[in-house]
Each structure stands twice: as C-alpha cells, then as structure tokens.
Amino acid sequence: MAEVGTAAIPPEARETTEPLDLVRLSLDERVYVKMRGDRELSGRLHAYDQHMNMVLGDVEEIITVVDVNEQTYEEIVQTVKKQHEMLFVRGDSVILVSPPTRS
C-alpha cells in the first residue's frame, strides 16, 4: 500500500512518510514516552508494534503526584522516580513517544 505515490515524495522525506516510521527510526535510541496517569518514561527503545506496545531498556519512570493540603488547598507537586532494567509497556496507556533530540 505504501508503494502508491512514493515517486512523488523526495528521497529525503521518504524516511518519515507515516507516523510509525518516526518510531522505527528511534529503535536503539533513548526515547521519551508520556503515559496516562501522569507518568513519564525515558529509556532505550528495543521493540514496538502497531499498538505502541513497547519494550524499553534502562528505564527511568517519573510519576507526578499532586497532593492538596486540606487546610490551605495548596497543591503540593511531588515526583516519584523508579528504575527498571527492562520494561514491557502496554500501548493503550501510551500518550506520545518522542525521539531523542539531535544536536
């Protein structure tokens, strides 16, 4: 199906013709993943599929917890960090995947 119309796309643009290609090009690179439930991950991308199920290595998970003080109604934002050496992530909790920043 991808064969249709590829001749019109210049060679340099062909590499990112569909959204998942951006993820494919991030294989074996550190990616940032935003998750449902105020969770963020950063880790090396080892595998993914069309559901955005993923396996990440050397992962740092950052969980943001917002507490509201009962008297003052002050919002106290706390972050909890967790490390995982190898992590399977189910795709239905994934919000976005960002490739590594190139300098």
Partner: protein, 94 residues
Amino acid sequence: MLFYSFFKTLVGKQVTVELKNDLEIRGTLVSVDQFLNIKLDDVHVVDEQKYPHMMSVKNCFVRGSVVRYVSLPAQHVDTALLQDAARREAQAGR
C-alpha cells in the same frame, strides 16, 4: 504477534506485572496468549501492607488489557534480536 512470541520466550522467568490500578504482582510467568493475557504462579504482591486481601492468592490469571507494565529480567532479553524483529514487523506491516 511480536510481543506474543517475545513473552513465550520468557515463560518460566520471574516477572513483575504492574496493573492499571497500581497493584504490582511478582510471580513466575506460566503462559501467555495472543491478547497478552498472562498466567502467573507463586505470586506475591509487591506492597502487601497495602493489599492484604491478596495474601492468600498463589496463582492468577491477568487480563491483558489491565496491564500497564511488565518488568522483565534484562539478562533473559536479547535486545539485538528484539530490534531486528521490530524492524521486520514494521516492514511487513506496510
């Protein structure tokens, strides 16, 4: 099919499954199916203080859709093979 095959290679290994309700269950992976439903043996809950009602549960079935993470033993994961398989699946899916 990639992750189904991947999990089949991990049968018999110790894994920690984190569910979407924050419950974390550690146990031996017994079997997995195409929906990534998971069967675990010798289970114990990571935070037993918080979930005392799970003390008597020795084995369980977890519906794939309620899983958030599965934490895996890195020494049993061939990362080069995984990346190749992911590239191949990306090729086949287009």
